[in-house]
């Protein structure tokens, strides 16, 4: 850089001989990144062991992950075809089926016959037989519920009676996939392949021919699982074929199965709302429809919106109060405004304390004090952010330009007027901008303190996830949260850039 002419080789060697440390010390420098790299790798290996990541990932049930993810945007309809030893069949649906009380979807076609049959003494093993299965155990709650729809109490003696039974059932998943059950023979076709198996109405399933790729059977005679990818799957047991047909979308998003508007097209609903006769004599159809939407049993729109509003309110009120409380305190904490060192240090340490006792601890504490709800969240955000905003505000105050203050002071203004006209105009945009920033970021963090009981949508999210069957509700709430966060993000960004734009830097 300094030498403009290139030194000759001799000169360079002479320089090298005179200042060996200039050239040699570079090896140490070169070793440093290597050492840091080795340290990082060693740390990662340690953490791999510390958290036993390899073991956990290996034992995780990744099959379920795909199903859970699919549940976010799709739902299953689950007809169970029960097969008696004599080949008679009956079809039942899960309780709270998205199709309503008497489902008869087009993709399931049944042939019914009225026959007189002898019902044998019910075998004990049939009743005991668990319907839930190992690899899809997350469905156990609903699958178990489906059992309640089984035919009435069994007679204890051989008895003959006349009843309508299903003799043939055809389930069409999509163009390429269908399952046909008739005469204790299950025929499944998927992706151009046809696979047959016989069931005995008891415990055994026998495949006829080799298993195709999409069918699995752990041991001979045991149940066979047919997986058709995203269209669904089916499970063939000796006495039952469980169909799981997956449909894209959110089922019954507006009206649940108990609503009089259930199962109608948009046009029908609209005409019913506007011109139809009153379904409920006490109120108009429009009001009834709105009420049905709000209290939709499955999606709980009103509750979700209320909880979301609580989260927004927590962030708003908490941040507003925090900035109001931090405002006077920061003047005491700033060393150029309040010359007392003791006061500065005391307030600053107070801010540090508020910040270090985490929002989480405050949230737990106030949940105990106020009970679960947004008050706890507001208080937690208020206490934490009084600390953080106070620290930021006092730093902003310490960085102000002194000239304005001196100017106001020199014309003999009172101390309050000095702050009002000499200090405030400089820092107010910064204060407001930081408060806005925290408002926005608290909207995000209010979700998570909600999950520990401090009110808002966090707890509702957590409860929806805990059952492992309401992932579509989780998706709905996440979508709402993302929307709210993005809206507030842009509002706060727009306000901040206007505020900071006016400030001359």
């Amino acid at each position: 850089m300094i030498a403009s002419t290139k030194p000759s080789v001799l000169e360079m060697e002479a320089i090298a001989a005179r200042h060996p440390h200039l050239l040699r010390s570079s090896s140490e420098k070169r070793l440093k990144p290597l050492l840091i790299g080795i340290g990082v790798v060693a740390y990662l290996v340690f953490s791999w062991w510390f958290f036993s990541i390899g073991h956990v990932l290996a034992t995780a049930n990744w099959g379920i992950a795909g199903t859970y993810l699919a549940d976010w945007v799709s739902y299953e309809i689950r007809p169970d075809i029960e097969i008696a030893p004599d080949g008679a069949m009956s079809v039942s649906y899960q309780r709270n089926s998205p199709l309503g009380k008497n489902p008869a979807p087009k993709w399931v076609s049944l042939e019914r016959h009225t026959v007189t049959r002898t019902i044998e003494l019910p075998a004990a093993d049939k009743v005991e037989k668990p319907k839930a299965n190992s690899s899809f155990s997350f469905m156990a709650p609903r699958a178990a519920l489906g059992k309640t729809a089984e035919p009435a109490p069994r007679p204890t003696l051989n008895q003959s009676r006349t009843e309508e039974i299903v003799t043939r059932a055809v389930v069409i998943y999509d163009r390429l996939t269908r399952i046909e059950v008739a005469d204790k023979l299950v025929t499944a076709s998927h992706a151009g392949e046809t696979f047959r198996m016989t069931v005995d109405g008891g415990a055994a399933v026998t495949p006829l021919g080799p298993l195709p790729q999409w069918a699995t059977q752990k041991r001979p005679g045991e149940k066979i699982i047919l997986s058709f990818g995203l269209t669904g799957w089916a499970e063939v047991e000796g006495d039952e074929v469980s169909i799981r047909n997956r449909f894209f979308g959110w089922a019954n998003f507006l009206f649940d199965a108990n609503s009089p508007f259930f199962g109608k097209s948009y046009g029908e609903v609209a005409s019913l709302m506007l011109f139809g006769e009153r379904i409920d004599p006490h109120r108009s159809n429009l009001a009834l429809a709105w009420n049905n939407i709000l209290y939709n049993a499955e999606w709980q729109h009103l509750d979700v919106w209320t909880k979301l509003l609580q989260t927004i309110v927590m962030a708003f009120v908490g941040t507003l109060f925090a900035s109001l409380a931090a405002f006077p305190l920061c003047f005491l904490a700033a060393r150029n405004i309040t010359p007392s060192g003791i006061a500065n240090q005391a307030i600053k340490r107070f801010f540090d304390f508020l910040r270090s006792v985490d929002m989480f601890i405050w949230a737990l504490f106030f949940t105990r004090a106020f009970g679960p709800g947004p008050l706890a969240g507001i208080s937690a955000i208020f206490f934490t952010d009084t600390g953080t905003l106070g620290k930021l505000y006092s730093e902003a105050l310490e960085n102000i330009d002194d000239k304005q203050r001196e100017g106001v002071k020199s014309v003999g203004a009172a101390p309050i007027a000095v702050q009002r006209f000499g200090v405030l105009p400089q820092v107010l945009p910064v204060f407001a901008s930081q408060a806005l920033y925290f408002w926005e970021s608290n909207t995000r963090s209010a979700t998570i303190i909600g999950a520990v009981g401090a009110g808002g949508i966090g707890l509702k999210l957590w409860e929806a996830m805990r059952t492992n069957s309401d992932w579509e509700n989780v998706a709905y709430m996440v979508l709402l949260i993302l929307m709210v966060v993005f809206i507030f993000d842009s509002i706060s960004n727009a306000c901040r850039s206007r505020l900071m734009g006016r400030k001359v830097q």
Partner: protein, 320 residues
């Protein structure tokens, strides 16, 4: 206001100017008043709503606010260090409340790590590990999202949108999802915290990259360096100190975040704190709070010290 005090009457144009000024300031005052009124209205509506939808009402509960401190008093002060270091308690009646040595983690026959220290270490380690993962992916993404390095607006936009979604996606959901697959343990917490960190750090990083000096990059371009070489030798050396300090800043935030995630099932000290508050174990609660407070302060101080050493006194934006 100063003009009206002048003894001499104003000229015609002067009076016009003054009238305009008065009008403007009156309008401004009106806007301010309207804004404040709106804010106050929203505030009171929000407060009413919060109070109405809360389990306990504010004014009913306020007198009992400090009951909790009474509940939090251990039977004797020495109980706190006993709980902290897993020493046997004289009040031990076999119940979980006083059975401190139960949680000891024995390294050898004689040496043990007290439960809370072990869990605190786990929480801090979750934070460090996930900050490292987040920084790694944020580092990769940030160069693609920076305007000065990625002229293609589609790729840049995609990278930025992706970071925004990662940042705004509720951590509870990520933790809950992995909890459902992996069952209880620290890995759901790691996943949740690191996914959020990718978004948050990526944003900080690309802002740093956009403010970088482009001259070294230009020099490398002039001698025919490809994109990777230009980034690696032209940009990375100048942004690395800033990246490191953002990394440390994020680490402070993540220690807190991993504590909270722990409370909702991610393991670590957070869960123990939630349980001990919920089950009313005063000595344990106080021990954990003190340990947590000390650790957070220590991490903050350490990170501040390291940041000052690495990057000098620079102002940093706060973000969570």
């Amino acid at each position: 206001m100063a003009t009206s005090m002048l003894s001499k009457p104003l000229s015609e144009s002067g009076a016009l100017v003054e009238r305009h000024w008065q009008e403007l300031s009156a309008r401004r005052r009106m806007y301010t008043a309207l804004g404040v009124a709106l804010l106050a209205f929203t505030l009171f509506a929000s407060l009413w709503f919060a109070n109405a939808s809360n389990a306990g009402k504010f004014f009913d509960r306020l007198p009992h606010l400090f009951d909790f401190f009474g509940d939090l008093m251990p039977r004797e002060l020495m109980e706190i260090p006993r709980a902290l270091f897993d020493l046997p308690s004289p009040y031990n009646d076999g119940s979980f409340k006083y059975n401190y040595p139960d949680g000891r983690l024995y390294l050898t026959d004689g040496i043990y790590v007290p439960e809370y220290f072990h869990k605190m270490l786990e929480t801090v380690n979750i934070a460090i590990f996930s900050t490292a993962i987040g920084a790694f992916f944020g580092f990769i993404l940030c160069f693609v999202a920076a305007r000065n390095l990625m002229p293609n607006p589609w790729i840049r936009g995609a990278a930025r949108r992706m970071m925004e979604v990662l940042r705004a996606f509720p951590e509870v959901v990520i933790a809950g999802f992995f909890l459902a697959i992996l069952s209880l343990g620290p890995i759901p917490a790691i996943a949740a915290v690191s996914i959020h960190t990718i978004g948050a750090l990526g944003k900080m990083f690309f802002e740093v990259v956009e403010n970088a000096d482009m001259k070294p990059e230009e020099g490398l371009r002039a001698v025919g360096g490809n994109w990777l070489e230009r980034v690696w030798f032209g940009i990375v050396p100048q942004v690395l100190p800033n990246f490191t300090s953002y990394f440390l800043l994020r680490l402070e935030i993540n220690v807190r975040a991993s504590t909270i995630i722990g409370a909702v099932g991610g393991g670590g000290i957070g869960e123990l704190l939630r349980l001990s508050i919920g089950q009313n174990h005063p000595a344990k609660t106080l021990a954990i709070v003190m340990l947590l407070l000390t650790t957070i302060i220590a991490v903050d101080q350490f990170s501040a010290w390291l940041r000052r050493r690495l990057a000098g006194d620079q102002a940093f934006a706060f973000d969570r």
